[in-house]
Point group: C2
Chain length 183, copies 2
DNA sequence: TCGTATCTGGAGGAATATACTCCGCTTTGT
DNA sequence: ACAAAGCGGAGTATATTCCTCCAGATACGA
């Protein structure tokens, strides 16, 4: 695979993730190509139909989720720190999109990797609970859904950079709150 | 104005708010009518063009924001409680939509009511800070943007009722976190 | 109860957006 | 330098969306 082809494929995947998070649904084909800054034909060459694009996005985000979860554990001293690191990385790289894509695809994706990703997140939550960084009543589901919430843009005409700063601040507050709420 | 006309108008406004929050942008005219459970002609009779619909939505949500802010103050003993009450009410009634609608409309709306709404929210934040329920570094903007975040649906095929429960739980955590983060 | 002014729903056609293909030109790797 | 692989965008068919019109239903005063 040629270098420019790989570069364009990457751009298309990133554009698709962005749009999916913005729209909360399937983006228009043309919009993906335009956002990626490539021609329409390039999109169709890499992903002949919408299904394949979505599947590729799911796989990509899934893998990045697993990766990010592991490096978060490796590079952190405490469970709380690891969870926090992961959640902030999720904002920066749009990991919340996994769940949305899976909702779009139904269940026709990669069960094994999905399980792996859920497992990683589960470990992060458990570890954080052992440290007392978050309450025992906190569920994995709630945390997973939080990633979606903080990944999705606000749909106001805000500057993306400014928007990310805000998302990070709000995420910090949310995580601080999880510690208090033992419920 | 006849009773059924008023009822349909109300339904249309509610449907528009829902869709705006889901899509993060202008909903299709037909979609609004369909969501409201009324015919397309009914939509056009009440709101001859998109602009008027959006303006009506803005006015409606703005008024409800001001109302809700005041009753939150009246019915609460502490500033922290008032803010919490308001934020939860925002989730239930989609008050976060105000900001999105204003982004869609540009600045061609009601400056006076917008100011009033911002004022109400400002008072809520201030009062909460005086009580120490939230940190001094917390800005009104951040809180306003939080209402959008917690009002917008997650775009997974979740049951609306379940989704609201989750939003409330996450909102509680966020508010708890605001107390900790004095920053 | 009845008459009527008001309101409603959806079919239908113009305008617009979206999905997809083809082909001449550019870039990459050897 | 030269294939081979890749790229962009014009162009067409298809699906959505927008908006109007009118026959029938509904609320409310007499």
């Amino acid at each position: 695979m040629r270098a420019d082809a790989r570069r364009n494929r990457r751009r298309l995947l990133d554009a698709a993730v962005e749009l999916i998070l913005e729209l909360g649904g399937e983006p228009a084909r043309d919009a993906v190509a335009h956002r990626a800054g490539v021609g329409i034909a390039t999109l169709y060459r890499h992903f002949p139909d919408q299904q394949r694009l979505l599947r590729a996005v799911a796989l990509d985000v899934l893998d990045r989720t697993i990766d990010e979860g592991r490096t978060a554990v490796d590079k952190s001293d405490t469970g709380g720190e690891a969870l926090r690191r992961y959640m902030h990385a999720a904002i920066d790289t749009g990991l919340g999109a996994v769940n949305v894509v899976h909702a779009l695809l139904g269940s026709t994706t990669w069960p094994d990797r999905l399980a792996a990703a859920q497992d990683v997140l589960g470990r992060l939550v458990e570890a954080a609970q052992r440290d007392g960084a978050i309450g025992d009543g906190v569920t994995v589901t709630e945390v997973a859904l939080a990633t979606i919430r903080f990944c999705r843009p606000l749909a106001i005409g805000l500057d993306p950079a400014e928007e990310r700063v805000i998302a990070h601040r709000q995420m910090d507050c949310y995580l601080d709150g999880l510690a208090v709420s033992v419920k």
